[in-house]
């Protein structure tokens, strides 16, 4: 079990680095690839936990995540980025260096906090066992990082990437919190996530045609 815990912790660290990259990289294409890498790492974590706990459900979840997150959503992001023809995002509200610093602090802080305080969220008021504990900490960190991305990014497509990170965080937490949930609602859930990302990207392409860019600071027709 310790072996798998260490493995999951390493994967978690790698995942947080790729998430940071997805939020911070100015080139939209590279950010999308960072997201793809992050999704693949998430699938790996799911597989690792599935094998460590011998859970068939987690195996199904890992496959579903592979197809939808690493596959469909990454494909959607890259396709729309290519169509939009936007290479670099408009400068976000926080500059690169301070943003990197803040995001790293946020990440590490959240990870340590949730890892240490996992009891707070424990459903049964009993300590959460590994590897679920590390997993939950990673999930929360992703959630926080995704939210940070949505709030500070000016580019609409970057905001969608932030949303995908946010959702990845919640879905990863499902592993720790709801290990026995039936499959059908999960399938419905990921289908909806896919549809919402597709619709967002479609509306953004409309925004781009109307406003000439995906910079949300340009969206000023509805004020007051």
């Amino acid at each position: 079990m310790e072996h798998s815990v260490e493995f999951v912790s390493n994967l978690a660290l790698a995942m947080m680095v790729t998430s940071l990259a997805a939020v911070e990289l100015r080139s939209l294409r590279l950010a999308a690839y960072a997201y793809l890498a992050q999704a693949l790492l998430m699938v790996s974590i799911l597989l690792a936990v599935a094998l460590a706990t011998h859970s068939e459900w987690l195996l199904v979840w890992a496959v579903v995540a592979l197809i939808t997150k690493a596959g469909l959503i990454s494909w959607l992001l890259l396709t729309y980025i290519r169509r939009a023809g936007v290479t670099r995002e408009a400068a976000p509200y926080v500059d690169f260096a301070p943003s990197l610093l803040v995001a790293s602090v946020l990440m590490i802080g959240f990870y340590k906090l949730t890892h240490a305080q996992a009891l707070f969220l424990s459903p049964a008021a009993a300590p959460i066992v590994e590897p679920y504990r590390t997993n939950l900490a990673v999930a929360f960190t992703l959630f926080a990082l995704g939210l940070y991305g949505i709030i500070t990014r000016r580019d609409a497509i970057k905001a969608v990437i932030g949303l995908c990170l946010l959702e990845n965080g919640v879905h990863l937490s499902l592993v720790s919190l709801a290990p026995a949930m039936p499959e059908m609602p999960i399938i419905g859930l990921v289908t909806e996530v896919f549809i919402s990302v597709w619709m967002l990207l479609h509306v953004i392409s409309g925004v781009q045609r109307e406003f000439g860019s995906t910079d949300t600071a340009e969206l000023r027709t509805l004020r007051g």
Partner: protein
């Protein structure tokens, strides 16, 4: 009394399958899309009325269909109230669209080839709202609420111009972020219930979670606190709770008028419904939750009416008014007393009718007079007498004029707040009520009375019967409830009773006819 019945099933199946039929028929023969959609909406309304009639006829009746499946449905008094609203406003919005959509396209706000998509999504939107109000599964509730956002997003952005795409983007992004918080909350609630020793509570069932709220809160207090906060944020975003409301003014004002009716009239109530189902049972057990909700709703009331007062765009004014009025519903929920909950649910009903009426009227003004700027339109009564009359009814109803429905529900909220000794909240509610009356009547007067305005609007004319008919129906209902309160008792009473078990024990029931 729980009865197994298939009655809830058509209410969900008809619009969901009907949406696909409408879309494909529309692709085949475009002029048929609207009428087929109207038929489907009519059948949905009939199914909703059937369910409501069954529930309201027998005290304490609950209908369940396929309870073992995750697709199972459960209709109690609260669901019945919402079903009636969804069915009625859905049908009226579809009928209104039959005339307003072609006019909108003629004005250049939308492409003709997207008409089948419009009607298909409209019917699907109705179906997802029905589904959200009849499911007993906590994850399916989440899926259905998100589905209402997804099915309405392209409706909001239908005109696909600058304003509409901006509104659509904000709508989708902010609501999806919010709903993700709610997902976290739903998952936490599920996990708390699933981990409960003994394992007899079905962790997916909302009704069972609600019934055991106290038990769950005592077993895992911190997880329950986290879950309820996340759910408050998540479903609160959907309901228009400040500070999570930024999408509301844009989406409700830029959507086509019939869609605005469904947005302001129903879907924010669906958000409030989800909050009732998931957080109300825990209000007594999570310290500070009730106060937080009352405080935020009071802020929302004031903020909404303040922003409303300075608007030039008629629909944006109505959108901010919705923000303000949903504060009454949320305050009622936050109070978590029988009187408060009754008031909140009653206001849900009244606001849906009155705001639906006002948005239909705004759409009529847009269609009949050709604009929605309040500074440039005036004296429309000469050209649009029926619209003028029903707008006044809606404005007075929402403002709380005695004799119409809004007065009664607002009074209930004032009293409920006073009953708990929450004077600040009560004053906020009273002040908002007075300001709402002033702002709406002033708007109505400026729009319809006075001398006819600028020349460009000189050829304004009354709208077709299908459009003013929808408004007239709602106006009559507002008046009926206002002068004959037992109608409200019959509709809202069962809803309040259905969730009486969510409230702390000492309740008692409330009827309008013998208020304490």
């Amino acid at each position: 009394m729980t009865v197994h019945s298939l009655a809830p099933v058509p209410a969900v199946i008809v619009p969901v399958i009907g949406a696909a039929i409408v879309y494909f028929v529309g692709r085949w023969r475009r002029p048929l899309a609207g009428p087929v959609a109207a038929v489907v909406a009519g059948l949905t309304f009939a199914a909703c009325v059937w369910n409501a009639a069954l529930i309201l006829g027998v005290r304490g009746l609950v209908l369940v269909a396929a309870p073992q499946s995750f697709l199972g449905l459960r209709v109690d008094g609260l669901s019945a109230l919402l079903l009636l609203l969804v069915g009625l406003l859905g049908l009226l919005a579809t009928l209104f669209s039959l005339r307003s959509l072609p006019a909108m396209i003629r004005r250049g706000h939308g492409r003709p080839d997207r008409v089948p998509m419009y009607y298909g999504l409209l019917v699907l939107f109705i179906g997802t709202m029905v589904w959200a109000c009849t499911t007993d599964n906590i994850i399916i509730l989440w899926i259905a609420v998100e589905a209402t956002t997804l099915s309405s997003a392209f409706l909001v952005a239908f005109a696909w111009d600058k304003r509409a795409t901006e509104a659509g983007f904000k709508y989708l992004l902010l609501l999806t972020v919010g709903i993700t918080f709610a997902l976290f909350g739903c998952v936490l609630l599920y996990s708390v219930t699933a981990a409960h020793p003994g394992g007899q509570i079905n962790p997916m069932s909302i009704s069972e979670i609600a019934a055991n709220a106290g038990l769950l809160a005592s077993v895992s207090p911190s997880a329950v606190i986290a879950a309820t906060i996340l759910l408050l944020v998540g479903f609160g975003t959907k309901a228009g709770l400040v500070p999570l409301h930024a999408w509301l003014p844009d989406a409700h004002s830029e959507a086509p008028a019939p869609v605005s009716v469904l947005l302001s009239g129903i879907v924010i109530k669906v958000g409030a419904y989800a909050m009732i189902r998931c957080t109300l049972p825990f209000m007594a057990h999570v310290p500070g939750l009730s106060t937080a909700l009352i405080g935020l709703s009071a802020v929302g009331m004031i903020w909404g009416i303040a922003a409303c007062a300075v608007q030039d765009d008629l629909k944006r004014l109505l959108a901010y008014s919705s923000l303000s009025q949903i504060g009454y519903v949320l305050m009622g929920i936050g109070l978590a007393t029988p009187l408060g909950v009754f008031g909140g649910l009653f206001h849900m009903l009244n606001h849906a009718l009155a705001k639906g009426l006002l948005f239909f009227a705004a759409g009529s003004v847009e269609e009949g007079a050709g604009g929605r700027s309040l500074t440039r339109l005036s004296g429309l009564r000469a050209h649009m007498p029926i619209t003028s009359m029903v707008f006044f009814v809606g404005a007075l109803a929402l403002g709380g004029m005695p004799g119409l429905n809004g007065f009664l529900s607002k009074l209930t909220i004032f009293m409920a707040a006073a009953q708990q000794g929450l004077w600040v909240a009560m004053i906020a509610a009273v002040v908002t009520g007075l300001l709402t009356l002033v702002v709406l009547v002033r708007t109505a007067t400026n729009l319809f009375l006075g001398r006819p305005g600028q020349k460009q609007y000189a050829h304004a004319q009354e709208v077709p019967a299908l459009m003013w008919g929808a408004m007239a129906v709602l106006a009559l209902l507002c008046a009926l409830i206002g002068v004959y309160p037992p109608v409200a008792d019959a509709l809202v009473g069962p809803a309040a009773e259905a969730i009486a078990s969510y409230l702390p024990a000492d309740g008692g029931s409330v009827t309008l006819v013998n208020l304490p």
